[in-house]
Assembly symmetry: C2
Homo-oligomer: 113 residues x 2
DNA sequence: TCATTTAATTGCAATATTACAATAAACGAC
DNA sequence: GTCGTTTATTGTAATATTGCAATTAAATGA
Protein backbone atom coordinates (compact mmCIF):
# COMPACT_ATOMS: atom_id res chain seq x y z
CA UNK A 1 0.00 0.00 0.00
CA UNK A 2 1.06 3.51 -0.77
CA UNK A 3 1.10 6.19 1.93
CA UNK A 4 0.72 4.42 5.22
CA UNK A 5 2.17 6.09 8.28
CA UNK A 6 2.13 9.39 6.40
CA UNK A 7 -0.36 12.19 7.09
CA UNK A 8 -2.42 13.02 3.97
CA UNK A 9 -1.62 16.70 4.17
CA UNK A 10 -2.83 17.34 0.62
CA UNK A 11 -6.48 17.01 1.60
CA UNK A 12 -6.26 19.75 4.23
CA UNK A 13 -5.98 23.50 3.92
CA UNK A 14 -2.64 25.26 4.26
CA UNK A 15 -3.98 26.80 7.44
CA UNK A 16 -4.88 23.45 8.97
CA UNK A 17 -1.48 22.07 8.07
CA UNK A 18 0.21 25.15 9.49
CA UNK A 19 -1.51 24.71 12.84
CA UNK A 20 -0.57 21.04 12.91
CA UNK A 21 3.07 21.81 12.10
CA UNK A 22 3.35 24.37 14.89
CA UNK A 23 1.57 22.08 17.33
CA UNK A 24 3.86 19.21 16.48
CA UNK A 25 6.83 21.35 17.50
CA UNK A 26 5.35 21.58 21.00
CA UNK A 27 4.38 17.92 21.00
CA UNK A 28 7.51 16.74 22.75
CA UNK A 29 8.38 17.71 26.33
CA UNK A 30 12.04 18.22 25.45
CA UNK A 31 11.13 20.96 22.99
CA UNK A 32 8.76 22.48 25.53
CA UNK A 33 11.58 22.48 28.07
CA UNK A 34 14.04 24.00 25.61
CA UNK A 35 11.66 26.83 24.77
CA UNK A 36 10.89 27.50 28.43
CA UNK A 37 14.61 27.75 29.14
CA UNK A 38 15.14 30.14 26.25
CA UNK A 39 12.36 32.33 27.62
CA UNK A 40 13.73 32.24 31.14
CA UNK A 41 17.48 32.47 30.72
CA UNK A 42 19.94 34.95 29.31
CA UNK A 43 22.31 32.07 29.04
CA UNK A 44 21.14 29.98 26.13
CA UNK A 45 24.12 27.98 24.93
CA UNK A 46 23.47 24.54 23.61
CA UNK A 47 25.64 23.02 26.33
CA UNK A 48 23.51 24.61 29.04
CA UNK A 49 20.42 23.00 27.61
CA UNK A 50 22.14 19.63 27.55
CA UNK A 51 23.03 20.09 31.24
CA UNK A 52 19.63 21.38 32.34
CA UNK A 53 17.58 18.85 30.42
CA UNK A 54 18.71 15.27 30.94
CA UNK A 55 19.14 14.18 27.33
CA UNK A 56 22.27 13.41 25.34
CA UNK A 57 23.89 16.16 23.33
CA UNK A 58 22.93 14.78 19.91
CA UNK A 59 19.34 14.48 21.05
CA UNK A 60 19.18 18.10 22.19
CA UNK A 61 20.91 19.16 19.00
CA UNK A 62 18.27 17.36 16.98
CA UNK A 63 15.40 19.04 18.85
CA UNK A 64 17.10 22.42 18.43
CA UNK A 65 17.36 21.80 14.71
CA UNK A 66 13.63 21.17 14.43
CA UNK A 67 12.80 24.36 16.28
CA UNK A 68 15.32 26.27 14.19
CA UNK A 69 13.95 24.88 10.92
CA UNK A 70 10.50 26.04 11.98
CA UNK A 71 11.92 29.49 12.67
CA UNK A 72 10.87 29.62 16.32
CA UNK A 73 14.47 29.92 17.53
CA UNK A 74 17.71 31.12 16.05
CA UNK A 75 21.30 30.28 16.86
CA UNK A 76 24.37 32.48 16.78
CA UNK A 77 27.82 30.93 16.59
CA UNK A 78 30.28 32.33 19.15
CA UNK A 79 33.58 30.59 18.84
CA UNK A 80 32.98 26.91 19.46
CA UNK A 81 29.67 27.61 21.18
CA UNK A 82 26.26 28.36 19.76
CA UNK A 83 23.94 30.74 21.54
CA UNK A 84 20.27 30.04 20.96
CA UNK A 85 17.32 32.31 21.55
CA UNK A 86 13.67 32.77 20.69
CA UNK A 87 12.94 34.41 17.32
CA UNK A 88 10.55 37.04 18.63
CA UNK A 89 8.93 37.92 15.32
CA UNK A 90 8.25 34.36 14.28
CA UNK A 91 7.09 33.46 17.75
CA UNK A 92 4.55 36.28 17.64
CA UNK A 93 3.31 35.12 14.24
CA UNK A 94 2.96 31.56 15.48
CA UNK A 95 1.15 32.79 18.59
CA UNK A 96 -1.43 34.52 16.46
CA UNK A 97 -2.14 31.43 14.39
CA UNK A 98 -2.36 29.14 17.40
CA UNK A 99 -4.22 31.70 19.47
CA UNK A 100 -6.94 32.05 16.85
CA UNK A 101 -7.35 28.29 16.80
CA UNK A 102 -7.56 27.97 20.57
CA UNK A 103 -9.89 30.95 20.94
CA UNK A 104 -12.57 29.67 18.59
CA UNK A 105 -16.06 30.29 19.90
CA UNK A 106 -18.91 27.86 19.99
CA UNK A 107 -22.25 28.84 18.46
CA UNK A 108 -24.90 30.17 20.84
CA UNK A 109 -27.21 27.19 20.63
CA UNK A 110 -27.42 24.37 23.12
CA UNK A 111 -24.81 21.70 23.39
CA UNK A 112 -25.79 18.99 20.94
CA UNK A 113 -24.70 16.35 23.45
CA UNK B 1 18.74 -0.96 23.66
CA UNK B 2 15.98 -0.02 26.03
CA UNK B 3 13.68 2.93 25.29
CA UNK B 4 14.35 3.86 21.72
CA UNK B 5 11.58 5.68 19.89
CA UNK B 6 9.97 6.53 23.21
CA UNK B 7 9.95 10.00 24.74
CA UNK B 8 11.66 10.05 28.15
CA UNK B 9 8.70 11.69 29.85
CA UNK B 10 10.00 10.84 33.33
CA UNK B 11 12.72 13.48 33.17
CA UNK B 12 10.26 16.30 32.51
CA UNK B 13 7.78 18.04 34.79
CA UNK B 14 4.10 17.10 34.73
CA UNK B 15 3.42 20.54 33.33
CA UNK B 16 5.84 20.11 30.45
CA UNK B 17 4.37 16.72 29.64
CA UNK B 18 0.87 18.14 29.83
CA UNK B 19 1.68 20.84 27.29
CA UNK B 20 3.24 18.26 24.99
CA UNK B 21 0.22 15.95 25.26
CA UNK B 22 -2.21 18.74 24.37
CA UNK B 23 0.01 19.96 21.55
CA UNK B 24 0.28 16.47 20.13
CA UNK B 25 -3.50 16.36 19.83
CA UNK B 26 -3.31 19.34 17.48
CA UNK B 27 -0.31 17.92 15.69
CA UNK B 28 -2.32 16.29 12.91
CA UNK B 29 -4.37 18.28 10.39
CA UNK B 30 -7.23 15.78 10.56
CA UNK B 31 -7.72 16.50 14.25
CA UNK B 32 -7.44 20.22 13.59
CA UNK B 33 -10.13 19.87 10.91
CA UNK B 34 -12.37 17.81 13.18
CA UNK B 35 -12.17 20.38 15.96
CA UNK B 36 -12.83 23.26 13.56
CA UNK B 37 -15.94 21.46 12.30
CA UNK B 38 -17.17 20.85 15.83
CA UNK B 39 -16.76 24.54 16.57
CA UNK B 40 -18.53 25.58 13.38
CA UNK B 41 -21.41 23.13 13.00
CA UNK B 42 -24.48 22.21 14.99
CA UNK B 43 -24.39 18.96 13.10
CA UNK B 44 -21.55 16.95 14.52
CA UNK B 45 -22.23 13.33 13.72
CA UNK B 46 -19.29 11.10 12.99
CA UNK B 47 -20.59 10.43 9.48
CA UNK B 48 -20.60 14.14 8.65
CA UNK B 49 -16.97 14.39 9.60
CA UNK B 50 -16.15 11.43 7.39
CA UNK B 51 -17.91 13.17 4.49
CA UNK B 52 -16.41 16.60 5.08
CA UNK B 53 -12.87 15.43 5.68
CA UNK B 54 -11.58 13.05 3.03
CA UNK B 55 -10.41 10.18 5.22
CA UNK B 56 -11.83 6.70 5.69
CA UNK B 57 -14.33 6.10 8.45
CA UNK B 58 -12.00 4.04 10.65
CA UNK B 59 -9.36 6.74 10.39
CA UNK B 60 -11.77 9.45 11.52
CA UNK B 61 -13.01 7.19 14.28
CA UNK B 62 -9.46 6.71 15.47
CA UNK B 63 -8.78 10.46 15.55
CA UNK B 64 -12.06 11.04 17.38
CA UNK B 65 -11.04 8.48 19.96
CA UNK B 66 -7.79 10.31 20.67
CA UNK B 67 -9.58 13.60 21.14
CA UNK B 68 -12.18 11.92 23.31
CA UNK B 69 -9.56 10.20 25.47
CA UNK B 70 -7.93 13.57 26.03
CA UNK B 71 -11.30 14.98 27.07
CA UNK B 72 -11.41 17.72 24.45
CA UNK B 73 -14.56 16.32 22.86
CA UNK B 74 -17.42 14.13 24.00
CA UNK B 75 -19.77 11.87 22.09
CA UNK B 76 -23.39 11.13 22.71
CA UNK B 77 -24.93 7.97 21.27
CA UNK B 78 -28.22 8.58 19.44
CA UNK B 79 -29.47 5.35 18.02
CA UNK B 80 -26.89 4.12 15.57
CA UNK B 81 -25.29 7.54 15.30
CA UNK B 82 -22.90 9.33 17.61
CA UNK B 83 -23.07 13.07 18.03
CA UNK B 84 -19.76 14.66 18.89
CA UNK B 85 -19.10 18.07 20.34
CA UNK B 86 -16.46 20.14 22.09
CA UNK B 87 -16.18 19.62 25.84
CA UNK B 88 -16.34 23.29 26.78
CA UNK B 89 -14.93 22.95 30.28
CA UNK B 90 -11.98 20.86 29.31
CA UNK B 91 -11.32 23.00 26.26
CA UNK B 92 -11.15 26.06 28.49
CA UNK B 93 -8.75 24.31 30.86
CA UNK B 94 -6.55 23.26 27.95
CA UNK B 95 -6.66 26.79 26.55
CA UNK B 96 -5.32 28.18 29.78
CA UNK B 97 -2.39 25.77 29.88
CA UNK B 98 -1.48 26.31 26.25
CA UNK B 99 -2.15 30.04 26.44
CA UNK B 100 0.26 30.48 29.34
CA UNK B 101 2.91 28.63 27.39
CA UNK B 102 2.43 30.68 24.24
CA UNK B 103 2.24 33.98 26.11
CA UNK B 104 5.56 33.64 27.88
CA UNK B 105 7.49 36.89 27.94
CA UNK B 106 11.13 37.40 27.18
CA UNK B 107 13.35 39.19 29.70
CA UNK B 108 13.97 42.89 29.11
CA UNK B 109 17.61 42.56 28.12
CA UNK B 110 18.94 42.51 24.60
CA UNK B 111 18.63 39.55 22.34
CA UNK B 112 21.58 37.31 23.05
CA UNK B 113 21.88 36.58 19.34
C1' DT C 1 51.01 22.04 14.78
C1' DC C 2 48.14 19.53 17.85
C1' DA C 3 45.14 18.75 21.60
C1' DT C 4 40.72 20.54 23.54
C1' DT C 5 36.15 22.15 23.44
C1' DT C 6 31.67 22.56 21.56
C1' DA C 7 28.12 21.41 18.54
C1' DA C 8 26.36 19.12 14.29
C1' DT C 9 25.88 14.96 11.62
C1' DT C 10 25.50 10.05 10.63
C1' DG C 11 23.83 5.62 11.42
C1' DC C 12 20.94 2.71 13.64
C1' DA C 13 17.63 0.49 16.98
C1' DA C 14 13.17 0.72 18.90
C1' DT C 15 8.67 2.58 19.51
C1' DA C 16 4.81 5.65 17.77
C1' DT C 17 1.74 7.24 14.34
C1' DT C 18 -1.13 7.13 10.34
C1' DA C 19 -4.21 4.94 7.21
C1' DC C 20 -7.42 1.60 5.74
C1' DA C 21 -9.69 -3.12 4.72
C1' DA C 22 -12.21 -6.26 7.09
C1' DT C 23 -15.01 -7.15 10.69
C1' DA C 24 -17.93 -6.59 14.65
C1' DA C 25 -21.42 -4.31 17.40
C1' DA C 26 -25.53 -1.83 18.15
C1' DC C 27 -29.64 0.02 16.70
C1' DG C 28 -33.86 0.90 13.86
C1' DA C 29 -37.11 -0.38 10.19
C1' DC C 30 -39.62 -3.86 8.25
C1' DG D 1 -36.26 -12.54 13.03
C1' DT D 2 -33.45 -10.16 8.75
C1' DC D 3 -31.67 -6.18 6.43
C1' DG D 4 -29.63 -1.80 6.16
C1' DT D 5 -27.20 2.08 8.70
C1' DT D 6 -23.77 3.86 11.53
C1' DT D 7 -19.78 3.65 14.32
C1' DA D 8 -16.06 1.11 16.83
C1' DT D 9 -12.51 -2.33 16.80
C1' DT D 10 -8.94 -5.31 15.02
C1' DG D 11 -5.17 -6.28 12.25
C1' DT D 12 -1.67 -4.85 9.39
C1' DA D 13 1.45 -2.14 6.35
C1' DA D 14 4.23 1.78 5.93
C1' DT D 15 6.33 5.99 7.46
C1' DA D 16 7.73 9.09 11.43
C1' DT D 17 9.83 9.98 15.73
C1' DT D 18 12.93 9.46 19.52
C1' DG D 19 17.34 8.54 21.47
C1' DC D 20 22.14 7.81 21.57
C1' DA D 21 27.00 6.06 20.25
C1' DA D 22 30.29 7.21 17.15
C1' DT D 23 32.06 10.40 14.32
C1' DT D 24 32.90 14.76 12.13
C1' DA D 25 33.48 19.79 11.86
C1' DA D 26 34.95 24.06 13.39
C1' DA D 27 37.03 27.12 16.35
C1' DT D 28 40.28 28.09 20.26
C1' DG D 29 44.48 27.87 22.78
C1' DA D 30 48.89 25.97 24.24
Amino acid sequence: MMNMGLAKTEIFTAHQNQIAIFAKAFGHPARVAILQQLFKMDNCYCGNLVDQIGLAQPTISQHLKELRNLGLIKGQVEGTSVCYCIDKENWAAMKEVMGDFLDQDLPENEDCC
